[in-house]
């Protein structure tokens, strides 16, 4: 109420005559306040985002162990990246991880969201589903270190019930990466399902009613109504999870530490090893730059693919 009264006063004739002058004064005061208000953020942005990006590039042109002065090597580190089989292997296993992880996680989450939207609005169900996401990833890694342990884990009991032989999981070069993907599926599927669920809440119920009057099946309604209208959420979930998956680290740090035989030596683990164990800061920085370029290219392509931000609803 009072809001409309105030705006009427603003538009009316009873305003004091000196308003234009005050407005001009206001403008310059706003400009000063504006810069003052963003000052801290700007310092933070320059100090910890913009300049480090440049500095990472600068470090990548040197050989440096942080103890003796940096030794300029030009593009040497990048040449080394191109010929380093361990780097290409780390990129390969990272892509493998993304390929295991993303489709599984997205399909499961969509399925869960549709089931919830159709059957239960229970906050308890959603609370349980989101719990793995709230637990720190290193703790989740420790949880599954136990779950997948061949002599102590539940998975082994299940295998035995099904009459299947014992599996090495994290201890096997072939099974380790799918196992890591499985662990992170446990961590993130519930969260993604909650995001999809929230997206489904914005779809008007009348669309489903009309479709079911026409005799459409659940399956058909999912493909013709839910999925197209969820596109912005799907784009958000897929793009952020792919970028996150390319930087997988925490789970590996407590389970396989890159092994067995390089099977889980993902890019970020390799950067960590180079920079903080071997103290090859220059080489680590060069790999980080390469990863940055790869990720930027992937996000750009995806952004176009999804035509992100536009929903059929608008």
């Amino acid at each position: 109420m009072s809001v409309t009264v105030r705006s009427q006063v603003l538009q009316g004739k009873r305003l004091p005559r000196d308003v234009p002058v005050r407005k001009v004064h206001r403008r310059s005061a706003d400009a000063a306040a504006g810069w003052l208000f963003i000052l801290a953020s700007l310092v933070g942005f320059l100090g910890f985002y913009a300049l480090p990006l440049v500095r990472n590039l600068a470090i990548s042109f040197t050989r440096w162990n942080m103890l003796s002065p940096a030794h300029p090597v030009g593009l040497g580190n990048y040449a080394r990246v191109l010929h380093d089989p361990l780097f290409w292997n780390s990129l390969k296993v990272t892509v493998e991880y993304v390929l295991f992880n993303i489709p599984l996680q997205t399909v499961f989450a969509l399925f869960l969201a549709v089931v919830m939207a159709r059957m239960t609005r229970s906050i308890v169900v959603r609370g349980i589903l989101i719990l793995p996401y709230l637990i720190p990833p290193v703790v989740v890694g420790l949880v599954w270190l136990l779950m997948l342990n061949p002599t102590l884990g539940i998975i082994d009991i299940l295998l035995r019930l099904l009459g299947l032989p014992r599996q090495p999981f994290l201890g096997s070069a072939i099974q380790a990466m799918p196992s890591i993907a499985g662990i992170n599926n446990w961590e993130y599927t519930g969260f993604n399902a909650i995001l999809f669920y929230a997206g489904l809440q914005t779809v008007p119920e009348s669309l489903y009613e009309a479709a079911s009057l026409d005799g459409a099946s659940e399956w058909r309604m999912f493909w013709t109504i839910s999925l197209p209208l969820l596109r912005p959420v799907t784009a958000f979930v897929v793009i952020t999870s792919i970028i996150g998956s390319f930087q997988v680290f925490d789970t590996i740090a407590v389970t396989t530490m890159g092994g067995p035989i390089n099977a889980t030596r993902v890019v970020v683990w390799y950067i960590y090893e180079q920079a903080f164990r071997q103290f090859s800061m220059g080489y680590g920085a060069a790999i980080a730059t390469v990863l940055f370029i790869v990720l930027a290219a992937i996000s750009l392509v995806q952004f176009r693919l999804f035509r992100a931000g536009s929903s059929e609803l608008q």
Binding site: F48, M119, V143
Partner: protein, 304 residues
Amino acid sequence: MNETRLAGLKGRTAGTGALRLAAWIALILILAVTLLPIWWVLRVALTTSSLLFSDWSRFLPAGPTLANFARVLGLMGETAAIAAGGSGQTFHFLLAMRNSILFTGMILCGQLAFGALAAYAFARLRFAGRDAVFFLFVTGLMVPGVVTLIPNFVLVHSLGWLNSFQGMAAPYFLMAPFSVFFLRQFMITIPRELEEAAILDGSGRLRILARIILPVSQPAVITLAIVVFFSTWNTFLWPYLVGTTENVRVLTAALVTFQAQTPQGSPDWTGLMAGTALGMIPPIIILLLAGRRVVESLQFSGLR
């Protein structure tokens, strides 16, 4: 008209009866898969060490005991702890908790305060270069953390801030692109009329922000606080690299250090799982106390 509608609905419910049942079973199964690992950690943590391998497939702990928690927390003498199956390593849970609380608290306060100031400036104040700076901030959303890891470590190192809270909090304290962006997107939807009277009264912008804008933005601020809290609390690599001494080491880093110290060949499983269980306590408590808020906030954070 009415009859066809009824018939259509009838047909649908009859046809989907089996489907509904299958969906319920799937949902219950997924909930079980979510909760079972957490129970299994507790099960092992509560088991007497010497009975662990002989009774490994029981659903309930064999010889239920709190000894593993006691020895991991350092509440037991070293000889008694080793006798109970430990490696003599302890895990200073309360100290690590305190450090996590300080680390997260600092970042939460900084990001919310400076984020709100910047968001308000971007949403409301007119000044030259505003949109360019905002665009720059938004591009910061695309910078993967690993690219700034090495230079930020070098910076914190050269400032002499290794093993200090200011060093651990520095990269996140003044701004995070997401926080500024998220609050700005909310503030821009607040009707300008709300501020106009205060502007005519000659109130300063800081006063308007504190008295009018922030109270109206409460849901967005709470959502952001929850998102920032969990992402900071759960973060591992940066505080692990910067804060390695026990007096600043956060919970995630302390757990990984504890794990690294237990013998690799035959790990102290009951002790490790007691530590893991302790690491799960904070999120579980928060979920029990404010589950609805947390769930709804996280739902909301994805819809931008």
